[in-house]
Point group: C2
């Protein structure tokens, strides 16, 4: 695996060894999703050019799109001023959200209510099978 020691020194991981990562479509600026990386996910992402995350619910490393085919290629990786958040500019294939929407932030607060503002582009069962 790629030696990313020098990069990891710039990152302040939380007590669980994780750092939040914002994935943004590189050309449109659309914020697609937020997920978490551990050291291995960062190394795998830099090695392969494909976004890898740590799933907190499944306690496992995953490659974005490994089941759904909706992969995310890394374009640029940025670290914030105090080292505790990453911003990945990516090229998203298809839809980023497991609900079949382009991005995950489709619930908008309008006049004190939460409204869905984005259409499903793909039925979720087409993404993950039965």
């Amino acid at each position: 695996m790629k030696d990313v020691t020098a990069i990891l020194e710039h990152i302040r991981f939380d007590a669980a060894g994780l750092v939040p990562v914002i994935a943004q479509q590189h050309d449109t600026g659309e914020v697609l999703m937020m997920a978490w990386m551990n050291r291995e996910a960062i190394a795998k992402t830099l090695e392969t050019g494909q976004m890898h995350f740590w799933s907190r619910s499944r306690a496992a490393l995953w490659r974005k799109g490994e089941e759904s085919g909706q992969t995310q290629a890394l374009v640029e990786l940025h670290i914030d001023c105090d080292g505790d958040t990453l911003l990945a500019k990516v090229s998203q294939k298809g839809v980023a959200c497991h609900t079949g929407r382009r991005h995950c932030f489709f619930n908008r607060i309008i006049n004190g209510k939460v409204e869905v503002t984005e259409a499903q582009l793909v039925p979720p069962e087409r993404l993950y099978g039965d």
Copy 2:
């Protein structure tokens, strides 16, 4: 204070009662910073239209720009698909980063090294005094 009970029910706070919030400039799409909100910060933000956060290091509520003058007005507030991340589209006055840069993600990983890719627009001592 504004009753935001119906909105808070859509949000999954972590064990510390916090949720991460991505602040994005509403018109350019630039990701400015990531910070944390608790229930009170969300209520204050919706009530005043000015971004409020919870400082984990100071264990205190703060209004963005209260010291520096670099305020952030809320334009739209979004909740992600599983309710554990917020996206705030904002109008940033001046610079979002305490280092005097427009945004916080100015450290970019290039060829295995971390490089600063953004200029300081304001000297930090002008933002916070001596």
